[in-house]
Symmetry: C2
């Protein structure tokens, strides 16, 4: 018996407590024409915050399989030492499930439906579910932290704290 | 009157003098199953080298228009203070035009045809042409450096030093 979580559309404003949405539909102040007019640069869209404790940026590809539906949220994780950005490049939507930093409050978990052109950057310490691909195998470019220290906290939810995603 | 440059297929081996190819078809040592088996992590695919002179990583989106064909290589640029990574996420191929670090040698310019699932990371100081989209408007996730200092050198080629790309 779980509770139902209805994903909201992913917008920069709604996601602001958790980090940044990485998308070209950014504020005009961030759009700079370069390359003699051939390219528009949407500049500095995510705070890559990985230097704590001697950390460095790490670029990886995550190839994720969709979980069986209905998707149940049974655990959450956070990276106390660094931010983590996901940018999809397979053309598929995906789910973003987050909760505010601090001690995990399962009642404050919320879900967003991200479109194929939208990436997200989880701020350091933001609770999130691991990669939730939809529709099929999905590749994400990931920018996170490598370096010394334990950069993963994981919490398993008790049965009454769990959520089922309504899709 | 220009010379003709024939693009080679982009492979990690051929591109090694210039940086890394960012793609999931990486060496098996870099593939790590995570997320209880739902995700394969192709780990640490690019050397993000942006700390010199107080630099920090910067994540942007470049939205590039194809140049008119035939594409002529008239100028090259480099970033002396940091690496620059391009990961396409529009599903289109693109061109990568590079030359070895040091003083630019126009005779050593070479071209690669990158497939939609391949990104590239130009090592610090590597000569390259700016973003060369093919087939239509193309978005790239870019990871480069922001911070103090002049991080752009640009060289215009004399007419006899120029190349035309054969496509």
């Amino acid at each position: 018996m779980t509770r139902t979580l209805i994903p909201r559309p992913l917008t920069a404003e709604a996601f602001a407590p958790y980090g940044e949405v990485i998308e070209a539909a950014a504020a005009a102040r961030q759009a700079i024409p370069i390359n003699y007019g051939a390219t528009m640069r949407f500049h500095d869209l995510a705070r890559i915050d990985v230097a704590e404790g001697g950390g460095e940026p790490c670029v990886s590809i995550f190839r994720s399989q969709p979980l069986p539906q209905p998707i149940e949220i049974k655990l959450m994780e956070r990276h106390p030492l660094g931010s983590q950005a996901f940018i999809p490049f397979g053309g598929r939507p995906y789910l973003v499930v987050v909760a505010p930093p601090g001690e995990l409050d399962p009642d404050r978990i919320e879900a967003f439906l991200a479109q194929p052109h939208q990436g997200v950057n989880y701020a350091k310490g933001t609770w999130h579910h691991y990669s939730l691909a939809l529709e099929g195998e999905s590749d994400f470019l990931v920018i996170d932290r490598q370096g010394p220290g334990d950069n993963l906290d994981e919490v398993e939810l008790a049965p009454e704290q769990r959520w089922t995603i309504a899709l």
